[in-house]
């Protein structure tokens, strides 16, 4: 199982309306086919009334093993269904690498 699939399976715990896990490792200074940099877009009722920091920390808790091991960067775009609708289903782009090594 790829790390990407593993992340998807763990985040299913939040009963997401939308779940998109993208491997963005190719944008960074790591070997080809790495699984180090990910972007997650997740829309769930679970975030209703929750501050952004708390939403992120909830994801970090679910992915604690991955983050303490192979995953180096995790961009998170976390919305409630109403917020997602208000932004028209758009998720922001991630920045490119600036070469700061490991």
């Amino acid at each position: 199982m790829t790390l990407q699939t593993q992340i998807e399976q763990k985040l299913a715990a939040l009963a997401p309306d939308v779940l998109q896990v993208e491997n963005e490792s190719h944008m960074h200074s790591v070997p080809a086919n790495s699984e180090t940099h990910f972007k997650v877009t997740l829309v769930s009722d679970a975030f209703d009334g929750m501050m952004p920091v708390k939403r992120h920390q909830q994801i970090y808790a679910l992915l604690a093993d991955e983050l303490s091991g192979p995953v180096h960067a995790l961009a998170l775009h976390l919305y409630t269904p109403a917020e997602w609708q208000a932004r028209g289903g758009e998720r922001p782009n991630s920045p490119n690498c600036r070469g700061g090594g490991k």
Binding site: H56, Q57, P92, P95, R98, G100
Partner: protein, 116 residues
């Protein structure tokens, strides 16, 4: 001798606007740090920064204290605001500038500063 955790606590409590990042504001070493510090600089207030690439002890210890695994991290008045995604989003909707300006104003007042 103080421990790394004590150093971090002191940095957080002494600097009302503080970013832990990779590289410096002038020369960020990571795209996420670059975006975040750019949003912060656009608020036009003075802030402190710690380059975690020069401070491996802080880089190792802060994620545990903050319950936040990655960098950058923006701290305002002793509280974690968030990393790149949150700060950039707050910048776009105007909340970041409000937060930062309010913190700078309170810090100035506490120092007895005169802005006239």
């Amino acid at each position: 001798m103080s421990t790394t955790a004590e150093n971090i606590q002191r940095q957080i409590s002494e600097n009302p606007i503080l970013i832990f990042m990779k590289g410096s504001p002038q020369l960020p070493q990571c795209g996420f740090s670059a975006q975040t510090v750019q949003a912060l600089m656009s608020c036009g207030e003075r802030f402190a920064f710690v380059n975690v690439l020069d401070n491996p002890d802080i880089r190792a210890e802060l994620p545990k204290i903050a319950n936040w695994p990655t960098f950058p991290q923006l701290w305002v008045e002793g509280e974690l605001v968030g990393g790149c995604d949150i700060v950039v989003e707050m910048h776009q909707n105007g909340e970041l500038e409000k937060l930062v300006k309010a913190a700078a104003e309170r810090a100035g007042a506490a120092e007895g500063g005169d802005n006239a």
